[in-house]
Structures are given as structure tokens and as C-alpha cells.
């Protein structure tokens, strides 16, 4: 934590950044806070928190108001993957964002079953061990079609259409959302149409999902959303050789018409 405080103070004092978006303790609870030179005294109360928070989503809003300012942001490995995708989608500019990496506690890495808990610019803490586990995807993939359909019908049928998964998603940034488009999604219908509502959202995660798992954490009815989007992430890797958030210099294949030859395969 001291290393993080020193780094933030140093960057603020040198004018390297106009502000640092991180977490600050209010009482015993961590909340997002923008540390600036005017509020430098607050850096004492900086915290990394035991839970995760999609800070990059807040930074999009701040950066839109101050397009020329450089901001620092506290980021875990999953945040960094999201930020890389936001660079590619021109929601943030790579020359205007300085990531300050923090490590996750072993408990958190384990709880997240994180595939890569190591951010590139690690300032605070030690890099955690990988705890990757894709048994959730395998379990569903090994079911028969009919079992899969019944499983998802039951799970998605719990949906209360709170939009929590979309709202917390660090790579959901559109101003106009398909899921609120009247012809596609009827208002006042709970659960939403099965499976089109979640199928639509899952498709939109293709080439974007960074497997942070915040959607599943936010879901009030415990739909295994991360498993669904993880499968989409894997599909894109298998079919188009693109892993969102991992490949800084690669163009997302869904966002370009593409080149090379394609054969239809089964």
C-alpha cells in the first residue's frame, strides 16, 4: 500500500497525471475516488479494497469531459485487459491513461478462478499465482443438447432484467444499447424473452469479454453468466485466434471486415 501511495503522490506532484482514479476508504468501506492535487491529502486513505470495482467504466466518463488530461488508474489484471479493449474501441486513449497495477490477494484470485492475475505495470503487492479453471464450461459442454437447453432455460428464466450484468461490464460502453431497443426487447416483460435477451448480450461479448466475472458477481439471481461469456471468449479464440485484452497490437476481428480467405467449416 505504501508503494501505491508513494507512486500516486509522486505522479500528482510531478504533474505527470491530472488525477488518479482509485479507491478510498469512507469509514470502513472502499469507494471510487478521483485523487487530484487539490485532494492530495486524501491519498493517505487510499486502499486497494478486498473487492473489485470497474473503475475503467468511470474513467470513460471522466476522460470524455477532460479529453486532454492524463489520468492514472488503479488496475488489477482484469481491469488492464478491459482497458486494452477500451483503447481499441477508442473509448480511452492509450497516451492519456497511466495504469498502476496492483496484485490481487490469493483469496481473490482463487474466488475469481483468474486466468492471469498479473498486471503489466505492477506497483503494489506481489503477482499472484494463476488459478485458472474452466471446468464450468466443460461441464455444460459435456451435456447433451437437450440437457444444455433445459439448464439454460432454467437459469436464464430467473432473470429479472435488472441490467446489472450490462451496467457493471467494463467493456459495455455503447451510448445506445440493443437490450433497450423496443422492437427487439419488449418493455415490462420479466423474464425477458428466452433465450434471445441473453443470446444477444452474449453475442455482443464476442471479441470483447475479458473474463473478469463481474457480471456473475453482480447478478442478483446467480445466473452463471461468466460461463456463458467465457464460452464466447473461447469461441473467438478458436475461430478467429483473438483473445480480448491479451493482445495489445492485434485488431479485434469482429470490428473489421477482414482479409484472407475463409472457408465454411463445421
Amino acid at each position: 500500500m505504501e508503494a501505491l501511495k508513494n507512486k500516486v503522490n509522486e505522479l500528482l506532484e510531478s504533474g505527470g497525471i491530472a488525477g488518479f482514479l482509485g479507491l478510498r476508504n469512507f469509514g470502513s468501506e472502499p469507494f471510487p475516488f478521483l485523487f487530484t492535487r487539490d485532494t492530495a491529502a486524501e491519498v493517505e486513505k487510499i486502499t486497494t479494497g478486498a473487492v473489485r470495482y470497474p473503475l475503467s467504466k468511470i474513467l470513460i466518463r471522466i476522460a470524455a469531459v477532460y479529453p486532454d488530461a492524463i489520468f492514472g488508474i488503479m488496475c488489477r489484471a482484469c481491469d488492464e485487459r478491459a482497458i486494452i479493449e477500451l483503447f481499441k474501441n477508442t473509448k480511452l486513449r492509450s497516451d492519456k491513461v497511466i495504469t498502476i497495477g496492483i496484485s490481487c490477494t490469493d483469496d481473490l484470485v482463487q474466488a475469481c478462478k483468474c486466468e492471469n492475475p498479473q498486471p503489466s505495470n505492477l506497483v503494489s503487492g506481489e503477482a499472484g499465482k494463476k488459478e485458472f479453471d474452466r471446468s464450468d464450461v466443460q461441464k455444460i459442454a459435456s451435456m447433451t443438447l437437450e440437457q444444455r437447453f433445459d439448464f439454460w432455460t432454467e437459469q436464464l428464466g430467473k432473470c429479472i432484467k435488472c441490467y446489472g450484468c450490462r451496467n457493471i461490464c467494463p467493456v459495455c460502453f455503447c451510448d445506445v444499447c440493443t437490450l433497450e431497443d423496443q422492437p427487439l426487447v419488449k418493455r415490462g416483460e420479466i423474464p425477458p424473452e428466452l433465450p434471445s435477451f441473453h443470446l444477444t448480450r452474449a453475442y455482443h461479448m464476442a471479441g470483447r469479454c475479458v473474463d473478469c466475472g463481474l457480471c456473475e458477481e453482480a447478478c442478483p439471481v446467480d445466473i452463471p453468466l461468466r460461463t456463458l461469456y467465457r464460452r464466447v471468449r473461447e469461441s473467438v479464440k478458436e475461430l478467429l485466434d483473438y483473445l480480448p485484452g491479451e493482445e495489445r497490437d492485434k485488431v479485434p476481428p469482429i470490428q473489421v471486415l477482414g482479409d484472407g480467405l475463409f472457408e465454411i467449416r463445421d
Binding site: 444444455r148 437447453f149 428464466g157 444477444t200 453475442y203 475461430l239 469482429i254 482479409d259 465454411i264
Partner: protein
């Protein structure tokens, strides 16, 4: 209509309305009037096929074929074959979701 205009939402909507199968036909790669429209079509369909299969709707219910405007015989053959294929798969599982009735019953 260019196959790039076939948004995944159209395909999802067709399945939701009860379609047992969806055939997307486009011009051959290299033959696109808009140069690269069919490149994006194949990427979308490939991902969507994987996705519906994971949700329990057989990927064989969604087919993409390259059929040029002059290939009337191919169009007829592909449509026939796909119809037979879908018939052998039976009705779409989406038709047996009793969700509207269930939801209404829960509210009452």
C-alpha cells in the same frame, strides 16, 4: 441484401419467433459487390453457431452458404438439403419454453 447486412439480431429474432432453422446465403468470397461484406458475415455466423450450440440449440440449425445470384440450381439444392436436415432435427426447442405462461402464473 448484402450478407453483411444480416445482423446477428435478425438470426436470433428468427429463432426466437420459432424458426426451426435459419439459412444465410451470401455471395462467394471474392465476389462481393461491396468488396468484403461476406467476410464479416462468416465471422458472425461462425460465432453465433458456437453460441447457440452452447445454449442447447443445435449448430446445425444455422447454416451459411455461398450462393451467387446466378446459381439458382445451387440455391434450390441447398434449400432442399437444409430443409431435410432441419426436419430430421425436429422442432426447435425454443417452442417448448413455457416462459410466458409460467411468468404470468408466478405473478398471480
Amino acid at each position: 441484401m448484402c450478407s453483411a447486412r444480416v445482423s446477428p439480431h435478425f438470426i436470433i429474432r428468427a429463432f426466437q419467433e420459432g424458426a426451426d432453422g435459419v439459412l444465410v446465403a451470401g455471395c462467394h468470397i471474392g465476389d462481393c459487390h461491396y468488396l468484403k461484406g461476406n467476410y464479416i458475415a462468416i465471422k458472425r455466423v461462425a460465432i453465433l453457431r458456437d453460441l447457440i450450440d452452447f445454449l442447447g440449440i443445435s449448430k446445425e440449425r444455422l447454416l451459411l452458404e455461398w450462393i451467387a445470384g446466378s446459381e439458382g440450381d445451387k440455391y434450390a439444392r441447398v434449400a432442399d438439403e437444409f430443409t431435410e436436415k432441419v426436419r430430421s432435427l425436429g422442432p426447435s426447442p425454443i417452442k417448448r419454453i413455457p416462459f410466458r405462461e409460467k411468468a404470468v402464473a408466478m405473478v398471480r
